[in-house]
Protein backbone atom coordinates (compact mmCIF):
# COMPACT_ATOMS: atom_id res chain seq x y z
CA UNK A 1 0.00 0.00 0.00
CA UNK A 2 2.78 2.40 0.93
CA UNK A 3 4.47 1.88 -2.42
CA UNK A 4 1.62 3.80 -4.06
CA UNK A 5 2.42 7.44 -4.65
CA UNK A 6 -1.09 8.74 -4.00
CA UNK A 7 -1.22 6.96 -0.62
CA UNK A 8 2.13 8.47 0.41
CA UNK A 9 0.97 11.94 -0.62
CA UNK A 10 -2.29 11.44 1.27
CA UNK A 11 -0.39 10.46 4.42
CA UNK A 12 2.12 13.31 4.11
CA UNK A 13 -0.63 15.89 3.66
CA UNK A 14 -3.14 14.33 6.02
CA UNK A 15 -1.02 13.67 9.10
CA UNK A 16 -0.32 17.29 10.11
CA UNK A 17 -3.89 18.25 9.20
CA UNK A 18 -5.29 15.55 11.47
CA UNK A 19 -3.04 16.50 14.40
CA UNK A 20 -3.89 20.18 14.02
CA UNK A 21 -7.63 19.57 13.58
CA UNK A 22 -7.76 17.28 16.60
CA UNK A 23 -6.04 19.83 18.82
CA UNK A 24 -8.00 22.82 17.50
CA UNK A 25 -11.15 20.75 17.79
CA UNK A 26 -10.68 20.24 21.51
CA UNK A 27 -10.69 24.01 22.07
CA UNK A 28 -13.58 24.36 19.64
CA UNK A 29 -15.67 21.90 21.66
CA UNK A 30 -14.59 23.39 24.98
CA UNK A 31 -15.65 26.84 23.75
CA UNK A 32 -18.85 25.48 22.11
CA UNK A 33 -17.72 26.88 18.78
CA UNK A 34 -18.42 23.89 16.57
CA UNK A 35 -21.05 25.92 14.73
CA UNK A 36 -18.54 28.69 14.08
CA UNK A 37 -16.04 26.20 12.64
CA UNK A 38 -18.76 24.67 10.52
CA UNK A 39 -19.52 28.12 9.18
CA UNK A 40 -15.85 28.60 8.33
CA UNK A 41 -15.85 25.37 6.34
CA UNK A 42 -18.83 26.60 4.33
CA UNK A 43 -17.06 29.91 3.88
CA UNK A 44 -14.18 27.97 2.36
CA UNK A 45 -16.62 26.58 -0.17
CA UNK A 46 -17.95 30.03 -1.02
CA UNK A 47 -14.43 31.46 -1.20
CA UNK A 48 -13.27 28.78 -3.60
CA UNK A 49 -16.33 29.26 -5.80
CA UNK A 50 -15.83 33.03 -5.77
CA UNK A 51 -12.23 32.60 -6.87
CA UNK A 52 -13.34 30.17 -9.57
CA UNK A 53 -16.03 32.56 -10.79
CA UNK A 54 -13.59 35.48 -10.96
CA UNK A 55 -10.87 33.28 -12.38
CA UNK A 56 -8.10 33.67 -9.80
CA UNK A 57 -6.18 31.03 -7.86
CA UNK A 58 -8.57 28.92 -5.77
CA UNK A 59 -6.19 28.86 -2.83
CA UNK A 60 -6.19 32.62 -2.55
CA UNK A 61 -9.97 32.64 -2.42
CA UNK A 62 -9.99 29.91 0.21
CA UNK A 63 -7.60 31.52 2.66
CA UNK A 64 -8.81 35.08 2.19
CA UNK A 65 -12.42 34.06 2.78
CA UNK A 66 -11.88 31.83 5.81
CA UNK A 67 -9.48 34.12 7.67
CA UNK A 68 -11.61 37.17 6.89
CA UNK A 69 -14.82 35.61 8.17
CA UNK A 70 -13.02 34.14 11.19
CA UNK A 71 -11.99 37.65 12.25
CA UNK A 72 -15.53 38.89 11.55
CA UNK A 73 -16.96 36.16 13.78
CA UNK A 74 -14.50 37.06 16.50
CA UNK A 75 -15.62 40.69 16.27
CA UNK A 76 -19.30 39.69 16.39
CA UNK A 77 -18.96 37.49 19.46
CA UNK A 78 -18.50 40.02 22.21
CA UNK A 79 -19.20 37.52 24.92
CA UNK A 80 -17.03 34.57 25.79
CA UNK A 81 -19.67 32.21 24.43
CA UNK A 82 -20.24 32.74 20.75
CA UNK A 83 -23.65 33.84 19.56
CA UNK A 84 -25.16 30.92 17.65
CA UNK A 85 -28.02 32.95 16.24
CA UNK A 86 -25.77 35.59 14.68
CA UNK A 87 -23.56 32.83 13.27
CA UNK A 88 -26.61 31.09 11.83
CA UNK A 89 -27.74 34.20 10.02
CA UNK A 90 -24.24 34.80 8.70
CA UNK A 91 -23.99 31.18 7.56
CA UNK A 92 -27.26 31.42 5.63
CA UNK A 93 -25.97 34.49 3.83
CA UNK A 94 -22.58 32.94 3.07
CA UNK A 95 -24.32 29.94 1.53
CA UNK A 96 -26.49 32.31 -0.46
CA UNK A 97 -23.38 33.99 -1.83
CA UNK A 98 -22.09 30.52 -2.70
CA UNK A 99 -25.24 29.99 -4.76
CA UNK A 100 -24.60 33.27 -6.57
CA UNK A 101 -21.00 32.40 -7.42
CA UNK A 102 -22.02 28.93 -8.55
CA UNK A 103 -24.54 30.55 -10.89
CA UNK A 104 -21.98 33.02 -12.22
CA UNK A 105 -19.39 30.29 -12.65
CA UNK A 106 -21.82 28.01 -14.48
CA UNK A 107 -22.70 30.81 -16.83
CA UNK A 108 -19.11 31.73 -17.60
CA UNK A 109 -17.99 28.15 -18.28
CA UNK A 110 -20.88 25.88 -19.08
CA UNK A 111 -20.30 22.15 -18.93
CA UNK A 112 -18.03 21.62 -15.96
CA UNK A 113 -20.62 22.97 -13.53
CA UNK A 114 -21.17 20.25 -10.96
CA UNK A 115 -17.53 19.17 -10.94
CA UNK A 116 -15.96 22.12 -9.19
CA UNK A 117 -18.76 22.27 -6.64
CA UNK A 118 -18.53 18.64 -5.70
CA UNK A 119 -14.73 18.80 -5.67
CA UNK A 120 -14.63 21.69 -3.21
CA UNK A 121 -17.47 20.25 -1.19
CA UNK A 122 -16.10 16.75 -0.87
CA UNK A 123 -12.48 16.97 -1.98
CA UNK A 124 -10.42 13.88 -2.51
CA UNK A 125 -7.43 13.03 -0.42
CA UNK A 126 -6.41 10.48 -3.08
CA UNK A 127 -6.21 13.12 -5.78
CA UNK A 128 -3.54 15.41 -4.35
CA UNK A 129 -0.65 16.65 -6.45
CA UNK A 130 2.87 16.73 -5.02
CA UNK A 131 2.77 20.50 -4.60
CA UNK A 132 -0.64 20.27 -2.90
CA UNK A 133 0.73 17.73 -0.45
CA UNK A 134 3.84 19.82 0.25
CA UNK A 135 1.81 22.95 0.96
CA UNK A 136 -0.59 21.01 3.16
CA UNK A 137 2.28 19.49 5.13
CA UNK A 138 4.01 22.84 5.64
CA UNK A 139 0.88 24.81 6.59
CA UNK A 140 -0.31 21.93 8.75
CA UNK A 141 2.98 21.77 10.62
CA UNK A 142 2.91 25.56 11.11
CA UNK A 143 -0.60 25.24 12.53
CA UNK A 144 0.52 22.62 15.02
CA UNK A 145 3.35 24.90 16.19
CA UNK A 146 0.98 27.87 16.51
CA UNK A 147 -1.45 25.82 18.60
CA UNK A 148 1.34 24.63 20.85
CA UNK A 149 2.38 28.25 21.44
CA UNK A 150 -1.07 29.55 22.39
CA UNK A 151 -2.42 26.39 24.04
CA UNK A 152 -1.71 27.35 27.62
CA UNK A 153 -3.02 30.95 27.64
CA UNK A 154 -5.94 29.92 25.43
CA UNK A 155 -6.94 27.19 27.86
CA UNK A 156 -6.80 29.69 30.72
CA UNK A 157 -8.89 32.21 28.76
CA UNK A 158 -11.39 29.50 27.84
CA UNK A 159 -11.92 27.97 31.26
CA UNK A 160 -11.73 31.12 33.40
CA UNK A 161 -12.18 34.12 31.10
CA UNK A 162 -12.74 36.64 33.90
CA UNK A 163 -9.72 35.60 35.90
CA UNK A 164 -7.68 35.64 32.70
CA UNK A 165 -8.71 39.25 32.02
CA UNK A 166 -7.72 40.36 35.51
CA UNK A 167 -4.37 38.66 35.07
CA UNK A 168 -3.81 40.84 32.01
CA UNK A 169 -4.23 38.19 29.34
CA UNK A 170 -5.39 39.61 25.97
CA UNK A 171 -8.51 37.42 25.92
CA UNK A 172 -10.18 39.07 22.92
CA UNK A 173 -7.01 38.90 20.84
CA UNK A 174 -6.54 35.26 21.81
CA UNK A 175 -10.10 34.42 20.72
CA UNK A 176 -9.58 36.17 17.40
CA UNK A 177 -6.23 34.45 16.84
CA UNK A 178 -7.82 31.12 17.68
CA UNK A 179 -10.68 31.57 15.20
CA UNK A 180 -8.17 32.67 12.56
CA UNK A 181 -6.27 29.42 13.13
CA UNK A 182 -9.54 27.49 12.72
CA UNK A 183 -10.05 29.44 9.49
CA UNK A 184 -6.64 28.41 8.18
CA UNK A 185 -7.41 24.83 9.16
CA UNK A 186 -10.76 25.01 7.33
CA UNK A 187 -9.10 26.27 4.16
CA UNK A 188 -6.38 23.63 4.39
CA UNK A 189 -8.79 20.76 5.08
CA UNK A 190 -11.08 21.86 2.28
CA UNK A 191 -8.33 21.26 -0.25
CA UNK A 192 -7.47 17.86 1.13
CA UNK A 193 -10.65 16.21 2.31
CA UNK A 194 -13.38 18.65 1.32
CA UNK A 195 -15.27 21.49 2.96
CA UNK A 196 -18.14 19.40 4.23
CA UNK A 197 -16.09 16.73 5.92
CA UNK A 198 -13.69 19.06 7.74
CA UNK A 199 -16.14 19.12 10.61
CA UNK A 200 -15.57 15.41 11.15
CA UNK A 201 -11.96 15.90 12.17
CA UNK A 202 -12.85 18.93 14.33
CA UNK A 203 -15.96 17.86 16.22
CA UNK A 204 -15.95 14.10 16.61
CA UNK A 205 -12.45 13.31 17.97
CA UNK A 206 -12.65 16.25 20.36
CA UNK A 207 -16.16 15.35 21.44
CA UNK A 208 -14.97 11.84 22.26
CA UNK A 209 -11.92 13.10 24.17
CA UNK A 210 -14.06 15.59 26.07
CA UNK A 211 -16.33 12.75 27.16
CA UNK A 212 -13.50 10.54 28.29
CA UNK A 213 -11.43 12.89 30.44
CA UNK A 214 -11.63 16.25 32.19
CA UNK A 215 -7.84 16.63 32.09
CA UNK A 216 -7.21 19.23 29.39
CA UNK A 217 -3.74 18.18 28.23
CA UNK A 218 -4.68 14.51 28.18
CA UNK A 219 -7.82 15.39 26.22
CA UNK A 220 -5.78 17.44 23.73
CA UNK A 221 -3.46 14.49 23.13
CA UNK A 222 -6.37 12.05 22.92
CA UNK A 223 -8.22 14.28 20.47
CA UNK A 224 -5.24 14.57 18.15
CA UNK A 225 -4.61 10.85 18.52
CA UNK A 226 -8.19 9.99 17.59
CA UNK A 227 -8.09 12.28 14.55
CA UNK A 228 -4.81 10.74 13.39
CA UNK A 229 -6.02 7.18 13.95
CA UNK A 230 -9.18 7.77 11.98
CA UNK A 231 -7.26 9.37 9.13
CA UNK A 232 -4.81 6.47 8.83
CA UNK A 233 -7.42 3.76 9.31
CA UNK A 234 -9.79 5.53 6.93
CA UNK A 235 -7.12 5.77 4.23
CA UNK A 236 -6.24 2.09 4.67
CA UNK A 237 -9.91 1.08 4.55
CA UNK A 238 -10.58 3.14 1.45
CA UNK A 239 -7.51 1.59 -0.19
CA UNK A 240 -8.71 -1.94 0.54
CA UNK A 241 -12.33 -1.30 -0.46
CA UNK A 242 -12.29 0.62 -3.74
CA UNK A 243 -15.99 1.52 -3.71
CA UNK A 244 -15.61 3.28 -0.35
CA UNK A 245 -14.73 6.98 -0.79
CA UNK A 246 -11.81 7.98 1.49
CA UNK A 247 -13.76 10.84 3.10
CA UNK A 248 -16.59 8.51 4.06
CA UNK A 249 -14.12 5.97 5.44
CA UNK A 250 -12.36 8.57 7.60
CA UNK A 251 -15.64 9.91 8.95
CA UNK A 252 -16.86 6.36 9.54
CA UNK A 253 -13.89 5.61 11.80
CA UNK A 254 -14.24 8.95 13.59
CA UNK A 255 -17.93 8.38 14.22
CA UNK A 256 -17.24 4.87 15.53
CA UNK A 257 -14.71 6.29 18.01
CA UNK A 258 -17.24 8.86 19.14
CA UNK A 259 -20.01 6.31 19.62
CA UNK A 260 -17.69 4.06 21.63
CA UNK A 261 -16.64 6.97 23.84
CA UNK A 262 -20.30 7.92 24.28
CA UNK A 263 -21.26 4.37 25.25
CA UNK A 264 -18.40 3.77 27.68
CA UNK A 265 -18.55 7.08 29.47
CA UNK A 266 -21.68 9.07 30.17
CA UNK A 267 -19.67 12.16 31.02
CA UNK A 268 -18.87 13.36 34.50
CA UNK A 269 -20.71 16.07 36.38
CA UNK A 270 -17.57 18.16 36.11
CA UNK A 271 -17.82 17.96 32.33
CA UNK A 272 -21.44 19.05 32.50
CA UNK A 273 -20.53 22.29 34.21
CA UNK A 274 -20.47 24.29 30.99
Amino acid sequence: MLSQDFIRLALIAGTPIAIASGALGYFVVLRSQVFASETLSHVAFTGALAAAAVGIDLRFGLYAATIGVALLLAALGTRAISDDVAIGVLLAWVLGLGALFLDLFNRSRSGSNGVIASRTLFGSIFGLSTSDAEISAIVGAALVVAIAVIARPLLFATVEPRVAVTRGLPVAALSAAFLALVGVDAALTTQAIGALLMLGLIAAPAGAAHRLTANAYLALALSSGFALTSLWLGIALAYEIPSLPPSSAIIGVVAAIYVIAFATCKGTVKNARK
Partner: protein, 297 residues
Protein backbone atom coordinates in the same frame (compact mmCIF):
# COMPACT_ATOMS: atom_id res chain seq x y z
CA UNK B 1 -39.27 32.77 -21.64
CA UNK B 2 -37.52 36.02 -21.16
CA UNK B 3 -39.54 38.35 -18.97
CA UNK B 4 -38.27 41.89 -18.83
CA UNK B 5 -38.63 44.20 -15.89
CA UNK B 6 -40.35 47.46 -16.74
CA UNK B 7 -41.17 50.50 -14.69
CA UNK B 8 -44.81 49.51 -14.78
CA UNK B 9 -45.08 47.77 -11.41
CA UNK B 10 -48.62 46.35 -11.68
CA UNK B 11 -47.74 44.93 -15.07
CA UNK B 12 -44.55 43.39 -13.63
CA UNK B 13 -46.51 41.74 -10.84
CA UNK B 14 -49.10 40.46 -13.32
CA UNK B 15 -46.27 38.95 -15.37
CA UNK B 16 -45.24 36.89 -12.35
CA UNK B 17 -48.52 34.97 -12.48
CA UNK B 18 -48.48 34.19 -16.19
CA UNK B 19 -46.77 30.82 -15.89
CA UNK B 20 -48.30 28.01 -13.79
CA UNK B 21 -44.87 27.00 -12.43
CA UNK B 22 -44.46 30.48 -11.03
CA UNK B 23 -47.88 30.34 -9.35
CA UNK B 24 -46.89 27.04 -7.73
CA UNK B 25 -43.55 28.49 -6.70
CA UNK B 26 -45.23 31.47 -5.06
CA UNK B 27 -47.74 29.21 -3.28
CA UNK B 28 -44.99 26.86 -2.04
CA UNK B 29 -42.81 29.80 -1.03
CA UNK B 30 -45.65 31.34 0.97
CA UNK B 31 -46.39 28.10 2.85
CA UNK B 32 -42.71 27.52 3.56
CA UNK B 33 -42.16 31.08 4.72
CA UNK B 34 -44.98 30.91 7.28
CA UNK B 35 -43.97 27.51 8.61
CA UNK B 36 -40.25 28.35 8.76
CA UNK B 37 -40.83 31.73 10.41
CA UNK B 38 -42.99 30.32 13.22
CA UNK B 39 -40.82 27.26 13.83
CA UNK B 40 -37.75 29.45 13.53
CA UNK B 41 -38.92 31.74 16.31
CA UNK B 42 -38.72 28.81 18.70
CA UNK B 43 -35.39 27.73 17.20
CA UNK B 44 -33.92 31.16 17.88
CA UNK B 45 -35.44 31.29 21.36
CA UNK B 46 -33.96 27.90 22.21
CA UNK B 47 -30.67 28.76 20.46
CA UNK B 48 -30.85 25.63 18.37
CA UNK B 49 -29.74 27.12 15.07
CA UNK B 50 -26.92 24.63 14.77
CA UNK B 51 -29.33 21.71 15.25
CA UNK B 52 -31.63 23.23 12.65
CA UNK B 53 -28.73 23.49 10.24
CA UNK B 54 -27.69 19.87 10.83
CA UNK B 55 -31.27 18.69 10.27
CA UNK B 56 -31.58 20.64 7.05
CA UNK B 57 -28.36 19.05 5.82
CA UNK B 58 -29.84 15.58 6.37
CA UNK B 59 -31.77 15.91 3.14
CA UNK B 60 -28.52 15.14 1.32
CA UNK B 61 -27.94 11.61 2.74
CA UNK B 62 -31.72 11.17 2.62
CA UNK B 63 -31.85 11.89 -1.08
CA UNK B 64 -28.75 9.85 -1.90
CA UNK B 65 -29.95 6.91 0.22
CA UNK B 66 -33.37 6.96 -1.38
CA UNK B 67 -31.80 7.05 -4.84
CA UNK B 68 -29.66 4.04 -3.93
CA UNK B 69 -32.56 2.05 -2.45
CA UNK B 70 -34.94 3.03 -5.21
CA UNK B 71 -37.37 4.63 -2.79
CA UNK B 72 -39.17 7.94 -3.24
CA UNK B 73 -36.97 10.86 -2.26
CA UNK B 74 -39.33 12.12 0.43
CA UNK B 75 -39.12 8.79 2.29
CA UNK B 76 -35.35 9.20 2.43
CA UNK B 77 -35.64 12.76 3.71
CA UNK B 78 -37.99 11.89 6.52
CA UNK B 79 -36.07 8.82 7.70
CA UNK B 80 -32.74 10.71 7.73
CA UNK B 81 -34.21 13.71 9.55
CA UNK B 82 -36.00 11.54 12.10
CA UNK B 83 -32.85 9.55 12.91
CA UNK B 84 -30.76 12.71 13.21
CA UNK B 85 -33.32 14.42 15.46
CA UNK B 86 -33.33 11.39 17.75
CA UNK B 87 -29.53 11.24 17.91
CA UNK B 88 -29.19 14.96 18.65
CA UNK B 89 -31.80 14.86 21.40
CA UNK B 90 -30.21 11.75 22.89
CA UNK B 91 -26.64 12.98 22.81
CA UNK B 92 -26.91 16.60 23.88
CA UNK B 93 -27.37 15.93 27.58
CA UNK B 94 -24.85 15.06 30.23
CA UNK B 95 -26.13 13.88 33.59
CA UNK B 96 -29.63 15.04 32.57
CA UNK B 97 -28.66 18.65 31.95
CA UNK B 98 -28.32 20.49 28.70
CA UNK B 99 -24.59 20.47 28.04
CA UNK B 100 -23.49 23.14 25.53
CA UNK B 101 -20.07 21.74 24.69
CA UNK B 102 -21.33 18.23 24.23
CA UNK B 103 -24.39 19.42 22.34
CA UNK B 104 -22.32 21.21 19.74
CA UNK B 105 -19.98 18.23 19.40
CA UNK B 106 -22.90 15.82 18.94
CA UNK B 107 -24.62 17.99 16.35
CA UNK B 108 -21.39 18.44 14.42
CA UNK B 109 -20.77 14.71 14.48
CA UNK B 110 -24.31 13.85 13.38
CA UNK B 111 -24.04 16.32 10.55
CA UNK B 112 -20.74 15.10 9.27
CA UNK B 113 -21.83 11.46 9.51
CA UNK B 114 -24.81 12.48 7.41
CA UNK B 115 -22.50 13.96 4.79
CA UNK B 116 -20.21 10.94 4.83
CA UNK B 117 -23.15 8.55 4.43
CA UNK B 118 -24.59 10.69 1.65
CA UNK B 119 -21.27 10.64 -0.15
CA UNK B 120 -20.98 6.86 0.35
CA UNK B 121 -24.51 6.24 -0.98
CA UNK B 122 -23.73 8.46 -3.91
CA UNK B 123 -20.58 6.53 -4.73
CA UNK B 124 -22.39 3.17 -4.35
CA UNK B 125 -25.24 4.47 -6.49
CA UNK B 126 -22.65 5.06 -9.20
CA UNK B 127 -24.71 7.62 -11.01
CA UNK B 128 -24.37 11.31 -10.75
CA UNK B 129 -26.91 12.93 -8.49
CA UNK B 130 -27.41 15.56 -11.11
CA UNK B 131 -29.65 17.62 -8.91
CA UNK B 132 -27.01 18.04 -6.18
CA UNK B 133 -26.90 21.71 -6.96
CA UNK B 134 -30.65 22.19 -6.79
CA UNK B 135 -30.69 20.07 -3.64
CA UNK B 136 -28.35 22.50 -1.94
CA UNK B 137 -29.42 25.74 -3.51
CA UNK B 138 -32.98 25.12 -4.52
CA UNK B 139 -34.81 25.28 -7.74
CA UNK B 140 -38.32 26.57 -7.75
CA UNK B 141 -38.96 25.46 -11.28
CA UNK B 142 -41.17 22.45 -11.70
CA UNK B 143 -43.01 22.38 -8.40
CA UNK B 144 -46.14 20.35 -9.04
CA UNK B 145 -49.55 21.20 -7.65
CA UNK B 146 -49.62 17.97 -5.64
CA UNK B 147 -46.33 18.95 -3.99
CA UNK B 148 -47.91 22.20 -2.92
CA UNK B 149 -50.75 20.27 -1.26
CA UNK B 150 -48.31 17.96 0.56
CA UNK B 151 -46.42 21.00 1.75
CA UNK B 152 -49.65 22.58 2.95
CA UNK B 153 -50.49 19.44 4.92
CA UNK B 154 -47.08 19.34 6.61
CA UNK B 155 -47.29 23.04 7.42
CA UNK B 156 -50.71 22.68 9.03
CA UNK B 157 -49.43 19.73 11.07
CA UNK B 158 -46.33 21.59 12.26
CA UNK B 159 -48.24 24.76 13.10
CA UNK B 160 -50.89 22.76 15.01
CA UNK B 161 -48.16 21.11 17.05
CA UNK B 162 -46.64 24.48 17.88
CA UNK B 163 -50.03 25.94 18.76
CA UNK B 164 -50.65 23.12 21.24
CA UNK B 165 -47.13 22.63 22.57
CA UNK B 166 -46.07 26.28 22.30
CA UNK B 167 -46.79 27.20 25.91
CA UNK B 168 -45.00 24.31 27.64
CA UNK B 169 -42.19 24.59 25.08
CA UNK B 170 -41.80 28.26 25.92
CA UNK B 171 -41.87 27.56 29.65
CA UNK B 172 -39.25 24.87 29.30
CA UNK B 173 -37.04 27.01 27.08
CA UNK B 174 -37.09 29.80 29.64
CA UNK B 175 -36.56 27.84 32.81
CA UNK B 176 -36.17 24.13 32.67
CA UNK B 177 -36.26 23.52 36.40
CA UNK B 178 -39.47 25.45 36.95
CA UNK B 179 -41.09 23.80 33.93
CA UNK B 180 -40.09 20.40 35.22
CA UNK B 181 -41.59 21.18 38.60
CA UNK B 182 -44.76 22.26 36.77
CA UNK B 183 -45.00 18.82 35.20
CA UNK B 184 -43.77 19.55 31.67
CA UNK B 185 -42.39 16.37 30.08
CA UNK B 186 -39.04 17.93 29.15
CA UNK B 187 -37.34 15.10 27.27
CA UNK B 188 -40.43 14.12 25.29
CA UNK B 189 -41.12 17.70 24.31
CA UNK B 190 -37.50 18.28 23.34
CA UNK B 191 -37.48 15.28 21.01
CA UNK B 192 -40.94 16.15 19.64
CA UNK B 193 -39.80 19.67 18.80
CA UNK B 194 -36.70 18.41 16.99
CA UNK B 195 -38.83 15.90 15.06
CA UNK B 196 -41.30 18.58 13.99
CA UNK B 197 -38.39 20.79 13.04
CA UNK B 198 -36.89 17.96 11.00
CA UNK B 199 -40.23 17.30 9.32
CA UNK B 200 -40.70 20.94 8.45
CA UNK B 201 -37.17 21.29 7.14
CA UNK B 202 -37.24 18.04 5.16
CA UNK B 203 -40.47 18.78 3.38
CA UNK B 204 -39.37 22.29 2.60
CA UNK B 205 -35.90 21.38 1.41
CA UNK B 206 -37.24 19.17 -1.38
CA UNK B 207 -38.61 22.24 -3.04
CA UNK B 208 -36.59 25.19 -1.94
CA UNK B 209 -33.19 23.65 -1.29
CA UNK B 210 -31.38 23.21 1.99
CA UNK B 211 -30.07 26.73 1.91
CA UNK B 212 -33.31 28.59 1.52
CA UNK B 213 -34.98 26.75 4.40
CA UNK B 214 -32.17 27.73 6.66
CA UNK B 215 -32.20 31.36 5.60
CA UNK B 216 -35.96 31.53 6.23
CA UNK B 217 -35.75 29.60 9.47
CA UNK B 218 -33.19 31.71 11.28
CA UNK B 219 -32.81 35.20 9.86
CA UNK B 220 -36.43 36.49 10.03
CA UNK B 221 -36.93 35.13 13.54
CA UNK B 222 -33.60 36.53 14.72
CA UNK B 223 -34.46 39.93 13.24
CA UNK B 224 -37.91 39.86 14.86
CA UNK B 225 -36.36 39.08 18.24
CA UNK B 226 -34.09 42.08 17.85
CA UNK B 227 -37.13 44.27 17.28
CA UNK B 228 -39.38 43.03 20.04
CA UNK B 229 -39.28 40.71 23.04
CA UNK B 230 -43.05 40.29 22.80
CA UNK B 231 -44.07 36.76 21.87
CA UNK B 232 -47.19 37.20 19.73
CA UNK B 233 -45.91 40.32 18.00
CA UNK B 234 -42.50 38.71 17.53
CA UNK B 235 -43.91 35.63 15.79
CA UNK B 236 -46.14 37.79 13.59
CA UNK B 237 -43.23 40.04 12.67
CA UNK B 238 -41.07 37.01 11.89
CA UNK B 239 -43.77 35.68 9.54
CA UNK B 240 -44.13 39.08 7.88
CA UNK B 241 -40.39 39.38 7.26
CA UNK B 242 -40.17 35.84 5.90
CA UNK B 243 -43.09 36.43 3.53
CA UNK B 244 -41.74 39.72 2.26
CA UNK B 245 -38.28 38.27 1.72
CA UNK B 246 -39.64 35.20 -0.09
CA UNK B 247 -41.94 37.11 -2.42
CA UNK B 248 -39.37 39.76 -3.31
CA UNK B 249 -36.69 37.08 -3.70
CA UNK B 250 -38.83 34.99 -6.03
CA UNK B 251 -39.76 38.04 -8.05
CA UNK B 252 -36.16 39.19 -8.42
CA UNK B 253 -35.02 35.69 -9.30
CA UNK B 254 -37.73 35.44 -11.95
CA UNK B 255 -36.58 38.61 -13.62
CA UNK B 256 -32.81 38.29 -13.29
CA UNK B 257 -32.40 34.52 -13.59
CA UNK B 258 -30.06 34.30 -10.60
CA UNK B 259 -30.59 31.66 -7.92
CA UNK B 260 -33.49 32.44 -5.59
CA UNK B 261 -31.39 31.26 -2.64
CA UNK B 262 -29.01 34.14 -3.11
CA UNK B 263 -31.76 36.78 -3.09
CA UNK B 264 -33.69 35.33 -0.18
CA UNK B 265 -30.62 34.84 2.03
CA UNK B 266 -29.19 38.27 1.18
CA UNK B 267 -32.48 40.07 1.81
CA UNK B 268 -32.97 38.21 5.09
CA UNK B 269 -29.41 39.03 6.13
CA UNK B 270 -30.03 42.69 5.28
CA UNK B 271 -33.14 42.81 7.47
CA UNK B 272 -31.22 41.21 10.32
CA UNK B 273 -28.41 43.75 10.01
CA UNK B 274 -30.90 46.62 10.07
CA UNK B 275 -32.56 45.12 13.16
CA UNK B 276 -29.24 44.84 14.96
CA UNK B 277 -28.18 48.35 14.00
CA UNK B 278 -31.52 49.74 15.16
CA UNK B 279 -31.12 48.10 18.54
CA UNK B 280 -27.56 49.37 18.81
CA UNK B 281 -28.81 52.91 18.19
CA UNK B 282 -31.88 52.61 20.42
CA UNK B 283 -30.00 50.98 23.31
CA UNK B 284 -26.41 52.10 22.96
CA UNK B 285 -25.33 50.89 26.37
CA UNK B 286 -27.75 48.20 27.40
CA UNK B 287 -28.32 44.67 26.32
CA UNK B 288 -31.45 43.99 24.32
CA UNK B 289 -34.65 44.57 26.30
CA UNK B 290 -35.52 40.98 26.88
CA UNK B 291 -38.55 39.60 28.54
CA UNK B 292 -37.66 36.14 27.41
CA UNK B 293 -34.13 34.91 27.20
CA UNK B 294 -32.22 31.80 27.92
CA UNK B 295 -29.46 32.00 30.42
CA UNK B 296 -26.38 32.19 28.16
CA UNK B 297 -24.94 29.09 29.87
Amino acid sequence: MNPALTWNLPEDVRQLFVYPFMVNALAAGTIVAVMAAVTGWFVVLRRQTFAAHALSVMSFPGAAGAALAGLPLSAGYFVACGLAAGAIARGSRTADRRDRSQESAVIGTVEVVGFALGFLFLSLYGGVLENLESLLFGSFLGISTSQVYVLLGVAIGALTFLAIAGRPLLAMSLDELVARAGGVPIRALEIAFLLVLGLAVASTAQITGVLLVFALLVAPAAAAREFTPDIGFGVALSVAIALAVTWIGLGLSYYTNISVGFYVSSLAFGVYLVARLRRRIAHPFGDRPRVVSIEPS
